[in-house]
């Protein structure tokens, strides 16, 4: 049985419960055991711009929690993945490890950190997921959005391909939906600049929303709560700023996968999505 410590971070457990819910339910369906990380805090990423070393220490404390229960970590947020992965690598350096020990932390057992979706791709695999699909999402056009810290920096991950990413496309395709290929697939959602310049952030989000509209997609598949804030929560603002209409649902990938595995709308928390996916669901029942 695949068993992992699940790291939730700040946003997911409070603002994106439907992501968490669908991920947990998908895990159950696929025979994955997710163990709680009691005492887990913010990953540390918000501190990086202020002081990278302090951010790494906060991240490393979270890793030490998983280390104590000897479980590899899976995360739901791209930025948490990057921050924790960085700390995990730094823990193997003499210099950082001594600072880490100085604040009274320990790292008794080597653990890996990966994004939940990467874990699905690597440990469960496309074939096995395909076998578990009961209600293929035939007829849906889904636009995969990878987000930045899912595969970048490659130095940290060595996973997928930073120029031509394909793992999420494959994971979308295996649900039976069509994964839309489009230019600027690697473009950032703008989430990181939301706090600095909202207008600019919306501009960045709008770029992909407009591509989604051009391609007539049924939904955007996201794997990061930040990206979803930009594409879903701020979709109205983008519509206002650019005088257009989108109404494009933004689903977390585990929600889509859950539907294809036969989970019902409640089990994947569909009602918590701000932009309703009624027309998409209608297509499925037809």
């Amino acid at each position: 049985m695949n068993k992992y410590a699940i790291f939730l971070g700040c946003t997911v457990p409070v603002r994106a419960q439907h992501y968490e819910l669908s991920a947990r339910n998908v895990a159950k369906e696929l025979g994955i055991d997710l163990v709680e990380m009691s005492g887990a805090s913010c990953c540390g990423f918000p501190l990086k711009a202020v002081d990278a070393e302090t951010a790494l220490l906060v991240a490393a404390r979270n890793i030490s929690l998983a280390s104590k229960i000897k479980l590899d970590v899976v995360t739901l947020c791209n930025s948490c993945t990057a921050m924790l992965s960085d700390a995990q690598i730094q823990l193997n350096t003499e210099e950082f490890h001594s600072k880490f020990k100085k604040v009274g932390l320990s790292y008794p057992h080597e653990v890996r950190v990966r994004h939940f979706v990467r874990m699905l791709y690597e440990d469960i695999g496309i074939d096995k997921i395909g076998e578990a699909v009961k209600k293929p999402l035939n007829g849906l056009k889904i636009m995969p959005h990878y987000g930045c810290h899912y595969m970048r920096p490659s130095q940290l991950y060595g996973f997928d391909n930073t120029e031509t990413p394909h793992t999420l496309d494959e994971l979308v395709s295996v649900t039976g939906a069509e994964s839309v290929n489009y230019a600027d697939k690697k473009m950032c959602c703008g989430g990181s600049v939301l706090g600095v310049d909202e207008e600019l952030a919306i501009k960045m989000a709008n770029h992909k929303l407009s591509i989604a509209k051009e391609n007539g997609v049924d939904a955007i598949a996201s794997i990061c709560p930040f990206c979803t804030v930009m594409y879903e929560d701020n979709q109205r603002k983008a519509e206002a700023q650019f005088e257009t209409q989108y109404g494009i649902p933004v689903l977390y990938y585990p929600q889509l996968l859950g539907l294809s595995l036969g989970l019902d709308a409640n089990a994947v928390g569909l009602k918590f999505n701000r932009i309703k996916s009624d027309s998409m669901m209608e297509k499925l029942t037809r």
């Binding site: 391909n161 120029e163 031509t164 230019a183 600027d184």
Partner: protein, 706 residues
């Protein structure tokens, strides 16, 4: 042969006040007044000490003998030091000579007056022609079924765009008049052994498939396999108008369906055997030409993924053959070049290839729009005129390195920042030409043990700078040396030809460069010398340390690294140097051990500039500071020297790559030990002293004398 040591003293037309002329019963002293003009008869077996002016000068006058040199002109007479000091210097050199074996000259017999030329492109063809014309027996091998190499694939040559055939055809027909020339296509070199003048080379020839051919071309009509040969379509059986005048089968793509066999009025054999032979040659010229970098690895540019993204060669062939009519073209420079993820170096000619393709478009389709996107335009020398011309022709130049190429609404979009305008640009085009760089033929180089600088042969070596005293039987020519255009390739080919000729016209060649020697009985096989050698000249062969004579440059670094004194540099052996210092150093002296390439020259320069220094400063000449043994330094201190100065080349300027860094490491340890022993660590100093830095030398010895 005389067992006594001949001591030749030159008074330089009376300008040097002569010291005493008695150095004990083992010596014969001869007095001269201009050793630079009147050369006494000396045999190579004689042990000789020459006391005169600069050894840099005298070594050139007496290249054939082994001598210890003492500079009594610059180090004594010019600066007014007493004649007694000259005595001491000469006596010490005599002690060294007593304990030094003369350098044994190595001679190589040029047994085979024959050359192998590897690679049948323009460089190889030209070398084969030049050698053959001068009476050398030549075997020219080419791995492809036809001669011609890269040039035969081109449409045109830069800068003007003249057709490739204007250059290639005369070169090919030159070969027709050669008498002692063997041309082997589909042939590669598999193994090489031996030494200059006597190489044994194993060759492998794979079949061309077409045995007898009347050039009717019927085979092409029936061949079902269509091949994209760098942008030009052809069949699996094909013909190039070069050499040999016969069709050939490309067995990489041939399906062996047998259609050609059926229709051929001559003879096609799809199952010919591989032929392996061995030949003996005296010299080998490597002319393996250009190897394109696999630009697919530059993933952001989408080669192999996005239709319309091409390499320069493909684009040129497609336009030339009329299959491509571009309307809007972007030529992207440095696609994978000067990039630590790909090729860290500049391939030199790709800027010009890019300009050539831009001109090709403008020549064929004047209405077409052309963007050349370059982070730097390196149109070196007079190729600048081509760049000028293209601006006049309306080509748009953008300065930047495109981040990626996207496919949007059916066209290719190049995204780049333009550093001229400081704006981000997106350029919609139908064709993208990637001007990528070239990689070295490391496979051939390693088979032939060619010294490399990064991936390519060391250029200094190739120009004969650095190892001019070493006999070399392997030469590189043309783009194999480094990517080059047609003109430079041909010039380089002629240079390589004359180098090879110089070797092959001799019956024997010799070298008097001192080399490291290993005493097998002393050697404990600790292997420390292997890592310390800057030239990778030391290896283990049959459980014995072996020094590759072609690679050893005679720096002596290994001799100091060796803990068993098994490795010794000829002419500078441990015992000889030990005895020299023992005889030389008196109480209160300052011993200056100077590198012959830099600091030693500074001491002479001081005299020429009439800059004097303390009479207690005694100067010794060594091949490299890396060859200075710490135990010799300690000996000098034990003999009462107040200090030892080791003078060498500046950090990146060592004649032997990194001898001075070795010396620096040893100096730090020495100084640390002095401190531990309660001595003043400043009694030992290693200093970088350039060959003209007389002032610096004086300043340091004054400091050390305080």
């Amino acid at each position: 042969m005389n067992n006594k040591i001949r001591v030749l003293i030159c008074n330089c037309h009376g300008s040097v006040k002569l010291p005493k002329l008695e150095f004990g019963p083992d010596t014969i002293v001869e007095q001269h007044d201009n050793l630079c003009n009147v050369k006494p008869k000396i045999s190579a077996e004689d042990k000789v000490v020459i006391a005169g002016c600069s050894p840099n000068l005298l070594e050139g006058i007496y290249p054939e003998i082994n001598a210890e040199f003492v500079n009594i002109f610059e180090h004594i007479a010019l600066i007014g030091h007493p004649a007694e000091k000259a005595n001491a210097l000469i006596a010490a050199a005599i002690e060294k000579a007593k304990h030094t074996e003369p350098i044994k000259k190595k001679t190589f017999e040029i047994k085979h007056k024959k050359a192998l030329v590897v690679g049948g492109g323009i460089a190889g063809i030209e070398v084969a022609f030049q050698l053959s014309k001068n009476g050398v027996d030549v075997t020219l091998i080419e791995k492809k079924p036809f001669l011609g190499g890269t040039v035969a694939k081109l449409d045109r040559l830069y800068p003007e765009g003249t057709p490739y055939s204007h250059t290639l055809m005369p070169l090919i027909s030159n070969l027709g008049s050669c008498k002692k020339l063997e041309r082997l296509v589909n042939t590669t070199l598999t193994e090489v052994s031996g030494r200059p003048g006597d190489y044994r080379v194993a060759l492998k020839t794979v079949p061309r498939g077409v045995v007898e051919c009347i050039n009717c071309g019927k085979c092409i009509d029936v061949c079902p396999v269509e091949v994209d040969d760098d942008g030009k379509k052809r069949k699996a059986i094909y013909y190039l108008p070069t050499y040999p005048d016969s069709y050939a089968i490309d067995f990489d793509t041939c399906t062996k369906c047998g259609e050609c066999v059926k229709i051929c009025p001559g003879k096609i054999d799809l199952n010919e055997k591989i032929n392996e032979t061995e030949i003996n040659v005296g010299a080998i010229v490597v002319a393996t030409g250009l190897n394109w970098y696999d630009v697919k690895k530059v993933e952001e540019y989408g080669y192999g993924r996005l239709e319309g993204v091409m390499k320069t060669l493909e684009f040129e062939r497609a336009v030339a053959s009329g299959t491509l009519h571009p309307k809007k073209v972007a030529v992207i420079y440095c696609a994978g070049s000067r990039d630590t993820n790909h090729l860290p170096y500049c391939s030199k000619i790709c800027c010009l290839l890019g300009l050539k393709e831009a001109k090709l478009v403008k020549d064929r389709f004047p209405e077409a729009e052309v963007y050349v996107i370059a982070m730097d335009m390196r149109s070196y020398g007079t190729f600048e005129y081509l760049y000028n011309k293209l601006r006049d022709r309306g080509v748009s130049f953008v300065k930047g390195k495109p981040s990626e190429i996207l496919k949007r609404n059916g066209s290719l979009v190049v995204r780049t920042e333009d550093l001229y305008t400081n704006e981000l640009l997106e350029i919609d085009v139908d064709s993208v030409v990637l001007s990528s760089g070239f990689i070295a033929d490391t496979e051939t180089f390693s088979k032939l043990n060619i010294k490399l600088d990064g991936d390519f042969p060391v250029l200094f070596e190739n120009a004969g700078l650095g190892s001019h005293e070493l006999p070399r039987g392997i030469f590189t020519a043309g783009a194999a040396t480094f990517p080059s255009g047609v003109a430079e390739t041909l010039i380089d080919a002629r240079k390589a030809s004359s180098s090879a000729l110089n070797l092959l016209r001799e019956d024997r060649i010799e070298t008097r460069l001192p080399q490291a020697k290993v005493d097998e009985e002393q050697c404990s096989l600790c292997r420390m010398c292997i890592g310390t050698c800057p030239y990778k000249a030391i290896s283990i062969v049959d459980d014995k340390i072996k020094i590759n004579e072609e690679l050893c440059m005679g720096c002596g670094i290994c001799s100091v690294t060796c803990p068993s004194y098994a490795s010794q540099l000829e002419g500078w052996n441990h015992r000889g140097l030990y005895e020299q210092i023992r005889a030389l150093v008196d109480k209160g002296d300052l011993l200056a051990i100077m590198c012959r390439w830099s600091a030693y020259n500074a001491t002479e320069r001081a005299a020429q500039d009439r800059l004097s220094y303390g009479e207690n400063v005694k100067i010794m000449r060594v091949p490299c500071t890396g060859a200075v043994d710490p135990s010799h330094v300690m000996l000098a201190l034990n003999k009462g020297a107040r200090g030892v100065l080791i003078g060498g080349c500046y950090p990146d300027a060592c004649h032997y790559a990194r001898g001075n860094f070795r010396a620096k490491a040893r100096e730090s340890i020495l100084r640390m030990n002095l401190e531990l022993m309660g001595m003043d660590k400043n009694r030992v100093r290693l200093e970088w002293i350039g060959k003209d830095e007389a002032q610096k030398f004086i300043k340091i010895v004054e400091e050390m004398n305080k």
